[in-house]
């Protein structure tokens, strides 16, 4: 038992000693975007209370173990915080806050994907993270534009918002089903 713990500590210390700059920066990026998304999603009173510590731990875990389920958990925790903030605490849905949260959640997801693929001790060509970030920012920008259009379309009528949500959800559900079918075929 003791030897296993010692081996584990030795493995971690070797991994920390060997980590290179770009994989470290990518993991720092995962932590920063996850933590910022929590800040945007949750009410201030929760952030500076005891649950804030749990959020910090969730952000750290998503950066430390991006190959596990922690990035998914971090995004879901942020969404839960958003629902809590806008429903339970009655905070208004500000457009800047919503777009910021959407962008940060997507960045958390895509940076975690990159961190999961990069070996921690790899010598990485600077082109790799640069192109990755540019693509992610392009997607975020296009998503923001689409979201603004969507929000402006539904801003005048609350019923229309529900209808649009249903239609868009239906369309994307079909897309997701198609994607899942492709995934199962690939497996």
């Amino acid at each position: 038992m003791i030897s296993a713990i010692n081996d584990r500590i030795r493995t971690v210390s070797v991994a920390v000693a060997r980590i290179t700059l770009i994989p470290l920066l990518v993991r720092v990026g995962v932590f920063a975007t996850a933590l910022t998304s929590f800040v945007l999603a949750y009410p201030t009173r929760i952030l500076f209370d005891r649950p804030g510590l749990l959020l910090l731990i969730a952000a750290i875990l998503s950066a430390v173990a991006p190959r596990r389920r922690w990035p998914t958990v971090a995004v879901l925790v942020a969404v839960a915080g958003w629902l809590l903030s806008t429903s339970w605490y009655g905070e208004p849905v500000a457009l800047w806050r919503l777009l910021g949260l959407a962008t940060l959640l997507y960045l958390t997801h895509t940076l975690a994907a990159l961190a999961a693929l990069l070996p921690h001790d790899a010598v990485v060509s600077p082109d790799v993270p640069t192109r990755w970030l540019l693509r992610a920012l392009g997607v975020s920008l296009a998503g923001a534009v689409l979201s603004v259009l969507l929000m402006s379309f539904t801003a005048s009528d609350a019923d229309r918002a529900g209808l649009v949500s249903a239609l868009v959800g239906l369309g994307v559900a079909v897309l997701v089903a198609t994607l899942l079918g492709w995934l199962f075929r690939r497996r």
Binding site: T72, L98, L118, V123, V124, V128, V139, S165, L183
Partner: protein, 492 residues
């Protein structure tokens, strides 16, 4: 040709590593979805379902980047696995010389690889101190431009310092290739592999990744650095018809043997006119014929001792043996003698006697495969059959004199009337690891016993000399030549 290796990056499931060209009824798909794709699909679906159920457009907005990013990334899916090949500079490479290699990754498909993770193994005797992506134009994937160390020479100015103990992550656009350049130094003689190299490519913003592709290894031949060696003394007995050594037989040659009366068959240009005028009779200058000799280098491969530190470090027994054999062989082949080589070991490899530069190159190639082979039986008869060893040959035995069979072999050779010189290849200062207080005492006793054995060999007419480069064998060769010139009992 590929063979299995551990994956280039850790994989979640226990996926088998595919072998290119391996027969199989249903080959596994080369590209598989990553966990990020599952996460994107899950989050998109969950947010949309929640948005529909709760009637909230803000949840749909949160789902938009995930859905948009996934759809954009998967608009073109890769279908072809990357190609990987290892190449190395195959020119004449000597210990301490620069070594160059390339790991080439091709993207033959139409979809860019967002990143390619390259891992490669390299022999510890090739110190790769600079490695990095080629800064020059990438070669075409299908024969457009040769991928190799030669084609990328000169493009390594921007290589970062760092060894090959880390994986490298490159980008490879569609229809092109990327080269990982390896530059370093060859530390030790031998055949050293570069590779195998493992490659894993990722595309579609990290949503799909290919299974690891592994290339074969490329062997680099590193020839031993020949230590300077000169032996000015004559060979004990020349054997051939032509060569660089003066023989004891009269004939056409350069060494003056004396002046004698002209006889039938003498060539006119040999007439010594000054002596002829003085003696009033024709005299000719008699010369000794030039003969070549056969040198047999016998390599004792029964035991290894010492730790090899490469060309800049300490030398083991095998290092000294190979480098000394290369130097002695180069010296005698340069003088026009015939040189052959034998291994004193269970495999008893043999290089036939020959002369010239071609033999020198063959000798170097032969030396690359010298290995220590321990054996329990006596390989004497296998090595020294009467058809293998000329009785006139000079035998230079490179031995550490660690195994008692080596001393027995030397004594038998001397008793059979051959001209034997033993070169002691045991490094100075080598000793066993300290295991008890008695280790040093036992080692001292062993050294005394070994000195005693060397003394007995000298008494039997086998000079033993430590290898020290130039002039190592001069003294003992002079003794052997003197012994060869002396009349022998029973010889005609």
């Amino acid at each position: 040709m590929t063979r299995a290796l551990r994956p280039a990056v850790p994989t979640g499931a226990a996926d088998p590593v595919p072998q290119t060209g391996a027969p199989g009824p249903a080959p596994a798909p080369e590209w598989v979805p990553t966990r990020a794709l599952g996460r994107a699909v899950l989050l998109t679906g969950l947010l949309l379902i929640l948005g529909v159920l709760l009637g909230r457009i803000d949840l749909v907005v949160l789902a938009v980047p995930f859905g948009l990013g996934t759809a954009y990334a998967l608009r073109q899916r890769p279908s072809v696995a990357p190609g990987v090949q290892v190449d190395a500079d195959d020119t004449h490479l000597v210990e301490g010389g620069p070594v160059a290699g390339t790991v080439g990754v091709d993207n033959p498909g139409v979809v860019d690889f967002d990143l390619v993770i390259v891992r490669t193994l390299v022999s510890p005797w090739l110190r790769i101190d600079r490695a990095g992506q080629a800064t020059g134009p990438a070669p075409a994937p299908n024969g457009g431009q040769a991928t190799g160390a030669g084609s990328t020479a000169g493009a390594d100015e921007g290589l970062p310092a760092g060894g090959l103990d880390r994986p490298f992550v490159l980008t490879t656009p569609a229809g092109s290739g990327s080269d990982l350049l390896l530059r370093g130094e060859a530390l030790r003689w031998g055949r050293h592999p570069i590779g195998p190299a493992g490659v894993r490519a990722v595309a579609c913003d990290g949503l799909v990744a290919c299974r690891p592709v592994v290339s074969g290894a490329r062997t680099v031949r590193v020839y031993p650095r020949t230590e300077p060696f000169e032996a000015d003394e004559a060979m004990p007995r020349a054997a051939g018809l032509v060569g660089g050594h003066r023989s004891r037989r009269p004939g056409e040659g350069g060494e003056l043997a004396g002046v004698r009366v002209f006889g039938p068959g003498d060539r006119l240009r040999r007439i010594d006119w000054r002596v002829s005028l003085r003696a009033r009779q024709l005299h000719v200058a008699a010369t000794l014929s030039d003969r070549d000799a056969e040198v047999v280098l016998l390599l004792d491969v029964l035991a290894e001792a010492g730790r090899s530190g490469g060309i800049a470090g300490t030398a083991s027994v095998l290092d000294t043996t190979v480098r000394a054999a290369a130097a002695i062989g180069e010296h005698y082949l340069h003088r026009g003698d015939r040189v052959s080589m034998l291994e004193y070991g269970p495999s008893a490899r043999r290089l036939r006697p020959a002369t010239g530069r071609r033999q020198y190159l063959t000798l170097l190639e032969w030396l690359l495969d010298v290995r220590v082979e321990q054996s329990e039986y006596q390989p004497y008869d296998q090595v020294f059959g009467p058809h293998l060893l000329s009785s006139n040959a000079l035998l230079v035995v490179l031995t550490p004199l660690v195994d008692p069979r080596s001393a027995e072999m030397l004594a038998r050779l001397a008793r059979s009337g051959r001209f034997v010189v033993a070169v002691d290849t045991l490094p100075a200062g080598v000793g066993p690891p300290l295991r008890s207080p008695w280790t040093q005492v036992a080692y001292g006793l062993w050294r005394l016993e070994r000195e005693n054995t060397i003394g007995q060999l000298r008494q039997h007419g086998v000079p033993v000399v430590a290898w020290a480069g130039a002039g190592s064998l001069d003294l003992v060769l002079r003794d052997v030549a003197r012994m060869a010139a002396a009349p022998r009992v029973g010889m005609r």
